[in-house]
């Protein structure tokens, strides 16, 4: 099976500083792939190249059989809007909009009429345990609530790929686990591939597979495994 999204030997430098030095990475349809690495290793840059936010200096990025690194900015922007979803470390909600409007935002930007977009947004409140919060603005939400709104915004268009960059980095351990649970559960339910950048092993453990980025190169570590039997729990 060919991967849904793939970076092939990509290189990118910021001025004189190389960030990626021949990184290759691929994710299958419906897979949750964790991309791990230390700060400054290039893992977020790799995610931005895969998502068409950055264009590599060399190498290729393919999505669904199409080479996307050669598309112009308008077409990459349309691809990001129509096929990709995003969740970042600090929610990045629009402060002037309500939670409901924030979730509906990608649909509104895609040309969906307001009433229809808000109707699409509403079921996410029950789904993510946010009942009664639709009218609140981001400043009136806790960190965990805001990140769940950001997660709903990332998934509301039913994207083919969700890019999550340290989605629990600003949350406490328990709230982070809840966000991961919801994110992976919702993505699997709608068949969305997830590319998850994290430096936290406990977050990466939600993925099917891990890759490590080190000095601008990616190395795939492992393949999935069968669930553990209950009697093997004792540490």
């Amino acid at each position: 099976m060919s991967p849904l999204i793939e970076a092939r030997d990509i290189e990118l430098a910021f001025g004189e500083t190389p960030a990626l030095r021949g990184a290759s990475l691929a994710a299958e349809a419906g897979e949750v792939l964790a991309v791990m690495g230390a700060s400054g290793s290039g893992k977020s840059t790799l995610l931005h190249c895969l998502a068409g936010i950055l264009v590599p200096d060399a190498g290729e990025v393919h999505f669904d059989g199409q080479r996307i690194d050669r598309l112009d900015e308008n077409r990459r922007s349309a691809l990001r809007r129509d096929a990709f979803g995003f969740v970042f470390q600090f929610g990045q909600l629009v402060p002037e909009l309500t939670a409901e409007e924030n979730i509906a935002l990608p649909l509104l930007l895609g040309g969906v009429r307001r009433a229809a977009a808000l109707a699409e947004a509403r079921p996410w409140f029950a789904r993510l345990g946010l009942d009664g919060l639709g009218g609140r603005r981001s400043g009136e939400l806790s960190g965990g609530q805001a990140q769940r709104v950001a997660l709903a915004r990332g998934l509301v268009t039913r994207p083919r790929v969700l890019f999550a960059d340290e989605p629990t980095g600003a949350l406490d351990s328990l709230t982070g686990e809840q966000v991961m649970e919801l994110m992976v559960g919702a993505a699997r339910e709608q068949g969305t591939t997830v590319v998850l950048v994290t430096h936290e092993p406990r977050v990466a453990a939600y993925a099917d597979r891990e890759a490590v980025v080190r000095d601008g190169r990616a190395r795939t570590l492992s393949t999935g495994s069968a669930p553990v039997a209950a009697e093997r729990v004792a540490p």
Binding site: A38, E181, P201, D208, P235
Partner: protein, 174 residues
């Protein structure tokens, strides 16, 4: 920790007398618990019996025994197999992990590849425990959390060690 396999590793570096092996073992792995001479020679005797090492003729000199030991192909194979195998993830594995990293560096082998293999084994176990805490009762979830935190601590050590491999290699080979 496996004394026979550690001695095989030290012998792969160069043929050595029992005295030299004990000195290096104590320096790298003794940590206040030196290896008794008796255990060194009994271990070397068993390794020779099993065809993992060959003992040379006794050499003149002071001390309890002056034979030089050489690792055989069978010994190298056994050592390589052990070195490349990830340790079953347990809270108490650190000393074995540490030994493998130091030996790999001493021998100029790929310690980073070993650490990546170990990292993958740890993450695989963490994935299993995460699945269990998601689907099991709270008691199982709490036990799984206990295991996850220990594994996470090991992984932090693995990350730190990976980042310091060059400096560590320079130190152990000095």
């Amino acid at each position: 920790m496996s004394v026979p396999l550690t001695l095989l590793g030290l012998l792969e570096r160069e043929p050595s007398h029992g005295y030299d092996l004990k000195r290096d073992y104590d320096a790298f792995f003794g940590r206040g618990k030196p290896l008794p001479y008796g255990q060194v020679y009994s271990t070397l005797g068993r390794l020779a019996r099993d065809g993992k090492v060959v003992a040379g003729e006794a050499e003149p000199g002071d001390g309890p025994e002056r034979k030089r030991y050489v690792i055989t192909e069978a010994g190298v194979t056994e050592f390589e197999h052990w070195l490349g195998e990830p340790v079953a993830p347990e809270p108490t594995l650190q000393s074995v992990l540490f030994t493998k990293v130091v030996l790999a560096l001493l021998l100029g082998r790929d310690a980073e590849a070993y650490l990546d293999t170990q990292r993958a084994a740890h993450l695989r176990r963490m994935r299993e425990l995460t699945e269990l805490r998601r689907t099991g009762p709270l008691v199982d979830a709490l036990l799984a959390d206990h295991g996850l935190f220990h594994l996470e601590a090991d992984l932090r050590w693995i990350d730190l060690t990976t980042a310091r491999l060059d400096a560590l290699a320079a130190e152990v080979r000095a």
